[in-house]
Amino acid sequence: MSNDAIVFIVDDDEAVRQSTAWLIESIGLKVTTFTCADEFLENYNNEPGCIVMDVRMPGMSGLEAQEEMKNRGISLPLIFITGHGDVPMAVRALKRGAFDFIEKPFNDQLLLDAVQRGLKNNSEAMESLIENESIDKRIASLTPREHEVMMRVTEGKPNKVIAHELNVSIKTVEVHRARMMEKMEASSVAQLVKTTIQASKNNTTF
């Protein structure tokens, strides 16, 4: 969990906003408050953390803000708090990827747990994101011939078969294979397979 993580609180009611901040600060977390969703969207700068947001607010509502964040690629865990939540609203919010849905007046432990889980989730997501990005970079650094060799290696084909399919000599295949393994930072075929699976998960195009 990164120390840089910030809990963003978005609520139009000052008392609720300040008291929530007071509670979250009591476990030593950084808190930033906003009076409406627009203010948050304007000022957010890709910091890690999580969001605690009221569903109903003047101007942009919580659900609308959720949509907007998705559009902007903001993937912070979003915890909704609401004074009069109903089941359909909660279902809708969760379907759209809300991290949690808490009714006011909330149990303090429940909120704090949710916040901490959200922060953890966020930091993990950040880590996986960084890893994915390096895999993508490694794949991107491959030449087309090396990429073709990698695809056939992960399919379990021996060098002789690859050489035949690519209509090159075995020697050439071995050279490409060695460079590819180096670029992909894979010490074994198994590790290479793992990396390529990760990459396919992230929807990275090979």
Binding site: D12, D13, A15, V16, Q18, S19, T20, W22, L23, E25, S26, I27, R56, M57, P58, G59, S61, G83, H84, K104, P105, F106, D108
Partner: protein
Amino acid sequence: MTVILTRIRALISLSALFCLKAVHRLKAPALFIFISLSALFALPLHAVPPVSEVSEVSEVSEVSEVSEVSIKENTDSKAAFQQQTTSEKQNITIGILSQTSQDSIKNTPWQFTFDRLNSHPKYHFTPLFLNTEQLNNALADDELDFVICDAIDYVLLENQYGLLHLITRTEQYSGSFVTSEGLSIHTLNNNSNITRLQDLKDKKIGVIDENSSISWLFLEKFLFKHGLIAKTNITLEPITDMSTSLTLLQSGAVDAIISKSGLIAKHFTHETMEELRLINPRRGWKAPFLHSSVLIPEWPLSKAWFIDNNLARQVVTLLLNQHNNESNDSSAYFSPQYYWDIAENYTALNELFFFPGHLEQENNDEPSSFSQKIQYWVSFIIICFLVVILILYLRSSRDLNNKLTASKESLEQEIKERQHAQEQALTHQAELAHVARLSTMGEMASGLAHELNQPLSAIHTYVQGCIRRITMGNADLDAIVNALQLTAQQADRAGGIIRRLRSFVRKGESHKTYSEINQIVHEVTGFLDTQLKNKQVSLILDLEEDLPPVLVDIIQIEQVLINLLKNAIEAMSDVEKPAIIVSTRHASHKVIELCVIDSGHGISEDKLKRIFNPFFTTKTSGMGMGLSISSSIIEAHDGKLYAENNTEQGARFCLTLPITEEQPGNTNNE
């Protein structure tokens, strides 16, 4: 008659007095009744006097003015007739009472009289012999100018036909003129029991009536005057043979004998007369004998009421002059003749017949003649009529009075009921407004729950934060105190919401205070903040500053405003970017106007007409009473609530409130 008249007048004045009393009680409505009644009274009032005058005239038996006028007319016509036929003498008819029918005066004692009369150059006098009944009829028809009859008949006719005696007939007797006769009552000289006429009571009396010459009517009247009533307390025995009378007396068969005066003296000897004694002896200057009764005067010549004094004087002159000029000529007639002398006194006889003394007092009032009877009955009927009218009037006035009282009572009752109903209506209006507020609160319950939820959440969260800090030992005391202060603020906030809620649903009478309309707007919009937020409605307040305070029931005006705002919010449920403008302004120097303008779809024309009707609603929920009650609340504040569509989009609901001069002392009511 006079007595009756006096009675009628007294009765009329009495009834008038009653009427006046009644008028005082009934005032104006009775005035009409009184006037109409007076008119009714006036009728008999005018009708009575002529009747009375006539009756008085006939009672006094004097020739009235009316009679004189008619006499004049009569004589005038007669004079005119005379002028036309100068050659012919005017005919004058003289009725003569005669029980035997006679056609001529030849060889009657009247011959001399008529010869005298017909010596008059202008008139021809015709005798007409009539019996009593015929005489009556002729007089009734005014056919007779003069009448000659016996004194008794004259007295009877005088009253009825207004005859007036002029002169009296005489008979020459013993060298002197005997013109009167009376009754003598004799008893035996030694009979000491009978000294006065009254002593004849319960006695038997013989009446010498040889030739039926005695007037039994006169006899009875005479006895009656002295308390003797034939067949009741006295027995009358006719004696036809006079010579037996003394024997009857002496034998005690009769206690006294009655005869014409002079008759006894003529028949009995002086010795016989010694044995007899006259009862109640009196002497008349015209009678040669003592007698007991008043004298019956001789026959009078009387004139009819229409004969004027001039003719009468000429007749009297002719007849009285007979003695001087023609007494020597009496031998020219075969039988004794009647002569004439100045009139005798007929008053005594009249009194005997019409005022017969104390015994007949009770009969005195009895109307003697037919006309008097009629007058009597007419008066009686008039009195009855008046009394009936009076009774009816009093009864109707009493009924009217009762009705008036009843209607007054019912009116008072109605006024009371109406006041009660008005009070009830006010109470009902307040109750209805209260119910509507409760209903509004019910509809707003979820919003209110959220409203209350906010401070409660904040409190809870603050406190939990404090607890965590304290338990973890890293308590920054200042920060905690600050948080607790914020907590207290939130508790206040929650309390404020509850207070407002309670005052809003408070039951109670209208309580008006001078209030700032803008403050009410702030209160209400604050109240509805959550609702507005939830519905994403933007609220714009366009409030004119420095508005004068208005005298209103704050809760009720808040209720109206909440209603309008709620309606506006609901009207814009499917509108993009809904917005409400609440504006206040000085519409005129007397009126403040408050408008709630929405950006909804507006209201269709037909709905606009019915929108303030009770139970009219366009919503799926709700009773449709909100606007109706709001309207009645604003009307109760002497203001107006109206709705119209905006020119561009949406509708506006405006209410006006009158600006009243602020009374010192009311300012602190708030």
